[in-house]
C-alpha cells in the first residue's frame, strides 16, 4: 500500500485534519506533584533571563530554564517505575520513536468527577463505554477526560489533610487495560496518571505499576481532552531525548479528522 504523505500534509494545512494542543503552558505557577517534604521533590518550572536586548546580550532575548522530568504536561517512560526498571528500551532516549505516534480513545467521566473528586475508574465503567463506542483497539492510548484541567489550581491539586483527592483508575482496570486491551499507555488531565489517593491501593499507584511494568507509557497534565472524539484521534507525543530519562515535559498534539468533532 502506498501512503500519500503529501495528502496528509495538505489535509493538515487546509484544516481537514485539525491539530489540537493537549499541552499545558510551562509556567512557574502550574502545580507540580507534591510528595512528603523529606523525600526528593520534582523541580517546578523556573526561568532565568539570560539577556533581553540589553548589556547581557545586545540584540537577543533568551532564557535558561530549569525543571524536572515530570514537570508540567509530561511523558512517563517505563523506567520511571520500579516495575519497569529492567525492561529493554525503557527510557525516553531508547523507546522506538514510532511509538510516539499512536491512536487514542477518550473515556469521558467528567460528569462523574464533577460530582465526586474521588471518582475511580472501574472495568464496568469502561465496558459500558465500549458498549457505546466499540472495543478499544490494541496499542491505543487511553485518555481519561475528567475536565480536571479546567479547575483552579487549588481545586486542580485538591490537597487536603490526607493528601490529594483527584480521580484516577482502580488497580483492576489498569491491569485489564494492559492485559486484555493491550493499550499503548494511559493519559490524564490530573497531576499524575494515578488516583489522588492511589498510595492506598494494592498495588500502590497501579497506573504506574501496571503500565510501566508492561512497557507502556503515561501522559499527565493534559488539557483540551474535551475537544477530542471518543475514538479516532491520533496522538503525537515525543518526549525529549534525555539520556536514560525517566520521562520528559513535551508538546502533546492530537490529530483529529475534521468531520470527527
Amino acid at each position: 500500500m502506498t501512503v500519500d504523505l503529501m495528502a496528509f500534509a495538505r489535509a493538515v494545512a487546509n484544516g481537514d485534519i485539525r491539530v489540537i494542543d493537549l499541552t499545558q503552558t510551562l509556567s512557574q505557577e502550574f502545580p507540580t506533584i507534591v510528595l512528603p517534604p523529606e523525600l526528593g521533590q520534582c523541580a517546578p518550572f523556573r526561568m532565568e533571563e539570560v539577556s533581553r536586548y540589553d548589556e547581557r546580550g545586545p540584540a537577543w532575548y533568551w532564557n535558561n530554564i530549569s525543571l524536572g522530568e515530570h514537570t508540567g504536561t509530561h511523558f512517563d517512560a517505563p523506567i520511571h517505575w520500579i516495575s519497569g526498571k529492567d525492561l529493554p528500551n525503557n527510557a525516553v532516549d531508547t523507546i522506538n520513536v514510532a511509538q510516539f505516534i499512536a491512536p487514542a480513545v477518550v473515556i469521558d467521566c467528567s460528569r462523574e468527577c464533577a460530582a465526586d473528586p474521588d471518582f475511580a475508574l472501574t472495568i464496568p465503567f469502561v465496558e459500558q463505554w465500549e458498549a457505546r463506542h466499540g472495543k478499544i483497539e490494541p496499542r491505543s492510548w487511553v485518555l481519561l477526560r475528567t475536565d480536571w484541567s479546567k479547575q483552579t489550581y487549588t481545586d486542580y491539586a485538591a490537597l487536603r489533610d490526607d493528601g490529594a483527592h483527584t480521580p484516577g483508575p482502580e488497580p483492576a482496570v489498569v491491569k485489564w487495560f494492559v492485559e486484555q486491551r493491550d493499550v499503548h499507555g494511559f493519559g490524564t488531565e490530573t497531576i499524575g496518571t494515578d488516583f489522588g489517593q492511589g498510595q492506598h491501593f494494592n498495588p500502590p499507584y497501579p497506573a504506574h505499576f501496571y503500565m510501566h511494568g508492561k512497557g507502556r507509557f503515561g501522559l499527565q497534565c493534559l488539557t483540551n481532552l474535551h475537544l477530542l472524539p471518543p475514538k479516532g484521534a491520533v496522538i503525537i507525543a515525543a518526549p525529549l531525548k534525555i539520556k536514560q530519562g525517566s520521562g520528559s515535559p513535551l508538546r502533546v498534539l492530537a490529530l483529529v479528522a475534521g468531520g470527527d468533532v
Binding site: Q28, V34, G40, P44
Partner: protein, 413 residues
C-alpha cells in the same frame, strides 16, 4: 515629652522623592571598636590594661600612660548631661536638612566626657544613659537618652534617624507559610507597622496557620515565591515603592551533611530558596529601598536576614544547611556595602535551632518563632545590625570569639 509620631499622610505621587544623604562616616580602624559594639547594642569603650583609664574618643595610645594595650570593654552607660547646645545651621548637607539638632557633653560615671547626640527628653544637668548607635552612614555615634524611658520615646526624630522602628512603616515578610513567617507577621502588626505584606508561594498548597495569618490586623497576603525570579520582580514592581522593611523568612532546613548525603537535589533547593532567593530579593528590592532611604517618616530602612548561627561555624549534623547559611551571610555583607548609600541597614539575626518541625529531634534550648520575631522587631527598634537570639546562638558567638578551632572540633560531636 516627645510628641507622638503621627501616621504619615499618603505620599503625593507628584512630589519629588528626596534623595538620601549621610553624615560623615569615616572612622579609624580603632574607632570601629565602637561600631562593633553599636552593631550589637552594647556600650563599650577602651580601657587601658596598664592604668585602667577609660578612654574616649578611641585612641591608639593611652593618653594617661601611653600604653598601647587598650581593648574595648562593656561598661556602665550612666552619666550626667553637663552642657547642651542646639545646632541651627551647618554646611553639612545631611544635618542641614535636619536642623535644629541638639548635641551635648556628657560626663560618664566611668570617667570620660563624651560629645553626644541628644534625645529630646535628655535635660541639661539631668541623668542620662548613653547608647552607641549606628547613624545613617552605619557608623557609631553616641546618643544620650533620658535615664528612664519616657512617653513616646522612640518617636524622637533624632533617635528615629538611628533606628529602623517598624512603627508606621510597611514591611514585607517574604514567606508566610512557615511558623516563623506567621510569628513575624504578628510581631510587626503589634509593633505598629502600617501594612504587613506577607508573601505566599503556591497558593494552591494548603498549610496550617493560613486562617490565623489572615486574621492578623493589617496583614495583606501577596503572591511571592523567592525561587521564582519573575514572581519576586513582579512584587517589587507593584509594591516596591511602598515597602520600607524586608524580612526574609524563606527557609529551607534539612538535616544532613556534605559527605553523608545522597545527591544534590536538596542542596540545590537549599541554595535556590536561601542564597539565590536572597539575591533575587536583593536585586528586586535593593535599588528601590536604597532610593527611598530618606522618604519621610516611613522611609525605607532595613533588610532583615534570618540566619542560622551555623553560618558562622558549620554544624555537621546540618552541614549542607550550614554551608548555605554561610553563603547568605557573605551575601549580606556585600548588601550592607551596597545599601549603605541609602542609609538602609542590613540586619543579620542569628538564631540557633528553632522550636519547629525541622528541628524536631534536636534537644532544647530552642528558639520559638515568637521569640525570634520579637527579637527582630526589638533589633529594628534599637537600630541593631547583628543580633544573636537564644542560648545556642549566644553560646556559639562567645566560643567563636575565644577559640574558633575548638568550636569547629566541638560542633562535630
Amino acid at each position: 515629652m516627645i510628641e507622638p509620631l503621627v501616621r504619615p499622610r499618603r505620599k503625593n505621587p507628584l512630589k519629588r522623592t528626596r534623595l538620601p544623604l549621610r553624615p560623615q562616616g569615616v572612622r579609624s580602624r580603632t574607632a570601629h571598636g565602637l561600631t562593633a559594639a553599636a552593631a550589637e547594642g552594647r556600650f563599650a569603650l577602651q580601657v587601658c590594661l596598664d592604668c585602667n583609664t577609660v578612654i574616649y574618643p578611641p585612641r591608639d595610645a593611652c593618653p594617661s600612660c601611653l600604653s598601647a594595650r587598650l581593648p574595648f570593654r562593656d561598661l556602665a552607660r550612666g552619666g550626667t548631661l553637663i552642657a547642651e547646645t542646639t545646632v541651627r545651621t551647618t554646611t553639612d548637607p545631611y544635618f542641614r536638612e535636619r536642623t535644629p539638632w541638639r548635641v551635648g557633653t556628657v560626663k560618664l560615671d566611668v570617667g570620660p566626657v563624651v560629645v553626644a547626640h541628644l534625645h529630646g527628653d535628655a535635660v541639661e544637668g539631668g541623668r542620662v544613659r548613653l547608647e552607641l548607635k549606628l547613624d545613617k552612614s552605619d557608623s557609631a555615634v553616641v546618643m544620650a537618652l533620658p535615664e528612664k524611658d519616657t512617653e513616646n520615646m522612640a518617636d524622637d526624630p533624632h533617635l528615629r534617624e538611628m533606628t529602623c522602628d517598624p512603627k508606621f512603616r510597611r514591611v514585607l515578610i517574604t514567606d508566610g507559610r512557615t511558623s516563623v513567617g506567621q510569628a513575624m507577621a504578628k510581631a510587626f502588626s503589634d509593633a505598629g507597622a502600617s501594612i504587613v505584606f506577607v508573601g505566599l508561594a503556591d497558593p494552591w498548597k494548603p498549610f496550617s496557620g493560613m486562617d490565623d495569618l489572615r486574621k492578623i490586623e493589617r496583614v495583606e497576603i501577596v503572591p511571592l515565591d523567592v525561587t521564582d525570579s519573575e514572581s519576586v520582580t513582579e512584587l517589587a514592581e507593584q509594591n516596591g515603592a511602598r515597602i520600607d522593611i524586608v524580612v526574609n523568612t524563606a527557609e529551607h532546613i534539612r538535616a544532613g551533611g556534605i559527605v553523608d548525603r545522597h545527591g544534590l537535589t536538596i542542596a540545590r533547593e537549599e541554595i535556590d530558596v536561601r542564597y539565590l532567593g536572597l539575591l533575587r530579593l536583593a536585586q528586586a528590592f535593593g535599588p528601590i529601598l536604597r532610593f527611598r532611604g530618606a522618604d519621610g517618616v516611613n522611609s525605607a530602612t532595613a533588610f532583615v536576614n534570618l540566619l542560622s548561627v551555623h553560618a558562622l561555624m558549620n554544624w555537621p549534623a546540618y552541614g549542607s544547611y550550614s554551608a548555605t547559611e554561610a553563603a547568605c551571610l557573605s551575601a549580606a555583607q556585600c548588601m550592607r556595602a551596597e545599601l549603605r548609600p541609602g542609609g538602609v541597614k542590613v540586619v543579620n539575626v542569628f538564631f540557633g535551632p528553632l522550636e519547629t518541625e525541622w528541628f524536631q529531634t534536636v534537644p532544647p534550648p530552642k528558639v520559638t518563632p515568637a521569640a525570634l520575631a520579637n527579637a527582630v522587631v526589638r533589633a529594628l527598634q534599637h537600630g541593631l545590625e547583628d543580633v544573636f537570639v537564644g542560648d545556642v546562638a549566644e553560646d556559639i558567638r562567645q566560643r567563636l570569639a575565644v577559640n574558633p578551632k575548638a568550636l569547629e572540633r566541638e560542633m562535630a560531636n
